[in-house]
């Protein structure tokens, strides 16, 4: 009788055992994850609770991640089982064949829901799954606009220029436009956005530069930037400021009114009274363009698995979990804008998305910066762009010289 009772009591446990291990087949595995700081504090614990996989989450400042990755990958080792993978590295890292294609690991529904996945696909190989959605909008301080008597939101670049002039004339702020002109990535990305806004592209299908003649969009974009600087609408100190410094030290303190190359993910921070002096006044607006029809492009960041990782299955599990719709909605509280269209719509429906309608609308106009695929020489091109912009802003070279030097750098990089 006692045997029977014992058997009956143990039966559910015996039956549940395999089910539990099927639910968490990789339980007990440990993986390392390398991502930019800051990240949510409970990521590792939540993932372990759900999958049984232990995560050692390492964070570094975004600029410090790439040298760490390159140093480890060139040596044939894995810097971590899951790493950050920026859109701008796609060409280089794909040519070096450092990362595992994820086509078979990620379902078609996820790829379809994350439109930016195509940016990380080279020759049919999906190298990273986008987890943070960074496309460009413009951020404005609505209070400054109202104080200057501007009621219409600018839709064209001429209207934007007029608004900036009016804010300056009314002495709302001394420098209404926030525009990085330092030799940093932020100066490059602002120029790319303005090139799109002037109705052009950087390169043709064969990567021949399209920005060297005065009637080209890239040329006009640089001339526009210098005009803003010359008219005193941009702080001359912008030649030494990164985009993050302009966001934190100028825009968030109410010292400037328009962020030309605004990041949607910063809306939460800008409207948080603990982090911003302009909380409640910051809005995203559709990127004004020469024609009035908005355009933007994506600067997404993805998660990827190095080929040298020894825990590839568990690494893929982490990526699946981190890019799931449920977690993306949850992770918005940590300032990470979802890459899934469904998650964006859900947040907007819940009324949690700042300037939600604008973001959803702009996301429909997000293009790839390089529709033909990010070239392996992108980092070299970007440095040539921002150093040329920096030199032009300092008055050391003309617009003609600057665009010519960028084109020359492209040719040199391609020849290599």
């Amino acid at each position: 009788m006692r045997k029977l009772i014992l058997t009956l009591a143990l039966t559910p446990l015996v039956l549940a055992g395999p089910a539990l291990s099927q639910d968490k087949p990789l339980a007990g595995t440990s993986i390392t994850v390398l991502m930019p700081s800051p990240q949510g504090p409970n990521i590792a614990a939540e993932f372990e609770k759900e999958t049984g996989i232990h995560v050692d989450l390492q964070t570094l400042s975004w600029d410090d991640i790439r040298p760490k990755l390159v140093a480890a990958l060139i040596a044939g080792t894995a810097p971590a089982d899951v790493t950050e993978f920026d859109w701008s590295w796609t060409g280089q890292f794909s040519a070096a064949d450092w990362y595992l294609p994820l086509n078979d690991a990620i379902d078609a529904g996820t790829v379809a829901d994350i439109a930016g996945s195509s940016i990380f696909t080279v020759n049919g190989k999906l190298l990273g799954i986008p987890y943070t959605n960074d496309f460009r909008v413009m951020l404005i301080n609505r209070q400054h606009f109202v104080q200057a008597g501007i009621t219409e939101t600018p839709k064209t670049l001429d209207q934007l220029l007029a608004a900036a002039r009016q804010i300056k004339t009314k002495k709302i702020v001394e420098y209404p436009v926030g525009l990085p002109l330092s030799p940093t990535e932020g100066a490059s990305t602002s120029w790319y956005l303005l090139t799109k806004a002037f109705g052009g592209e950087l390169f043709d299908a064969d990567f021949k530069p399209l920005f060297t003649t005065p009637d080209s969009a890239g040329y006009k974009a640089l001339a526009f930037e210098l005009q803003l600087l010359k008219e005193g609408l941009v702080d001359p100190a912008a030649t030494g400021l990164r985009d993050a410094q302009i966001n934190d030290n100028l825009f968030a303190k109410g010292l400037t009114s328009i962020m030309i190359s605004g990041e949607p993910g910063r809306l939460g921070q800008m409207n948080d009274p603990a982090q911003s002096q302009v909380a409640g006044h910051v809005e995203a607006i559709l990127v004004p363009t020469a024609s009035g029809a908005t355009r933007s492009y994506g600067l997404l960041e993805a998660l990827a698995v190095p080929r040298a990782s020894k825990n590839q299955k568990a690494a893929i599990e982490f990526i699946k979990w981190f890019t799931s719709g449920k977690f993306q909605v949850e992770n918005y509280a940590n300032g990470v804008l979802p890459t899934r269209t469904s998650a964006l719509a859900e947040l907007n429906k819940q009324g949690k998305l700042h300037s939600g309608d604008v973001l959803v609308e702009e996301s429909r106009h997000v293009e790839a910066l390089f529709p033909q695929g990010t070239p392996p020489w992108y980092p070299e091109f970007s440095t040539a762009v921002n150093t040329a912009i920096n030199s032009a802003a300092k008055g050391q070279v003309t617009v003609d010289d600057a665009v010519a030097s960028i084109a020359a750098a492209v040719e040199q990089a391609k020849a290599q």
Partner: protein
């Protein structure tokens, strides 16, 4: 008998000599092995790799001879970075040497609280280069920066002056921060040498009617020459290897970019590893060559004076 003793003595002496040689060999062995393993072999490997094309974006690592070295002559950005680096070396070595000797001479005269003064002087050298640079970044800030504030308070038109918008002032601004960090080391080296000069020499000179400047040039300067050579060598190597200051203050700006930043960009941004290696080797050679002049000078003064 005498001959036998002498032979025994000779044998014993040779044995002792051999024993000393073995002991000496054993004592230097760790550093020799360490140097071979951590300096000579990597240097040789780097030299060999610099003669190949090592770029993870391209298949294979074919031998390309001196192509990486030849490329330096047509690389405009590298050329500009070399010019900037040589400017930093010239400014830093000159200012650190002159100011270092003068500062050491002044501190040497201080009788009360010298150790506290020395501790304060050493502080910039003790701080990491990045921390020093960030502090100076605030000082140079156009709006609320300390430097512009002081100049504006003095009635000068520097309210929103941007120091890094002009190449000359940008180079000087970076050099000032580097000198600020490295000057204390020169002071410490020279001060140690000054303190080892016997006081009798100054006393005798004073009795002979020598004035302070005469004592400085006739006694102090010749007797600290070896220390100055060490300090100058150190300043030269540090200035050739300048990175933190221009990187923190002006990023990759062509106006201030030294060769080490160029190497960093070529290697970790453009993934041209072997070109980065070639540039590194030339930088090492240039730094060693200039330092060698000072080391040889030091050797001569130490041996024959």
């Amino acid at each position: 008998m005498t001959a036998a003793v002498a032979t025994r003595d000779d044998t014993g002496g040779r044995t002792a000599l051999r024993g000393d040689a073995v002991l000496g060999g054993l004592m230097v062995a760790p550093i020799v092995v360490t140097m071979i393993a951590l300096v000579i072999v990597p240097l040789g490997q780097t030299l060999w790799d610099s003669l190949h094309r090592i770029n993870p974006m391209q298949p294979g690592t074919p031998f390309i001879g001196a192509a990486n070295y030849a490329r330096m002559f047509t690389d405009a950005d590298a050329g500009r970075a070399w010019t900037n680096t040589l400017l930093y070396v010239a400014i830093a070595v000159t200012v650190e040497t002159v100011m270092g000797i003068l500062a050491a001479a002044v501190i040497n005269q201080v009788q009360i609280g010298r150790r506290w003064l020395l501790a304060a002087v050493i502080l910039p050298w003790a701080l990491p280069g990045v921390v020093n640079s960030v502090i100076w970044l605030w000082i140079y800030q156009p709006g609320a920066g300390l430097l512009n504030g002081i100049l504006t308070a003095a009635g000068l038109p520097f309210e929103n002056h941007v120091w890094f918008n002009d190449r000359t002032s940008a180079i000087l601004a970076v050099a000032v921060v580097h000198v600020w960090r490295m000057l204390p080391l020169t002071v410490v080296i020279v001060l140690a040498a000054m303190q080892s000069i016997p006081g009798d020499l100054y006393e005798a000179a004073r009795i002979d009617g020598a004035k302070r400047p005469q004592m400085f040039f006739a006694i102090t300067l010749p007797l600290i020459r070896s220390a100055v050579a060490v300090a100058v060598t150190n300043s030269t190597v540090a200035a050739f290897n300048i990175f933190d200051e221009p990187w923190v203050l002006a990023g990759a700006s062509l106006d201030t970019r030294p060769i080490l930043v160029q190497i960093y960009l070529e290697t970790f941004q453009n993934l041209r590893f072997s070109y980065g290696m070639a540039l590194s080797l030339v930088l090492t050679a240039a730094s060693l060559l200039v330092s060698l002049v000072f080391v040889l000078r030091l050797y001569r003064t130490t041996r024959f004076e």
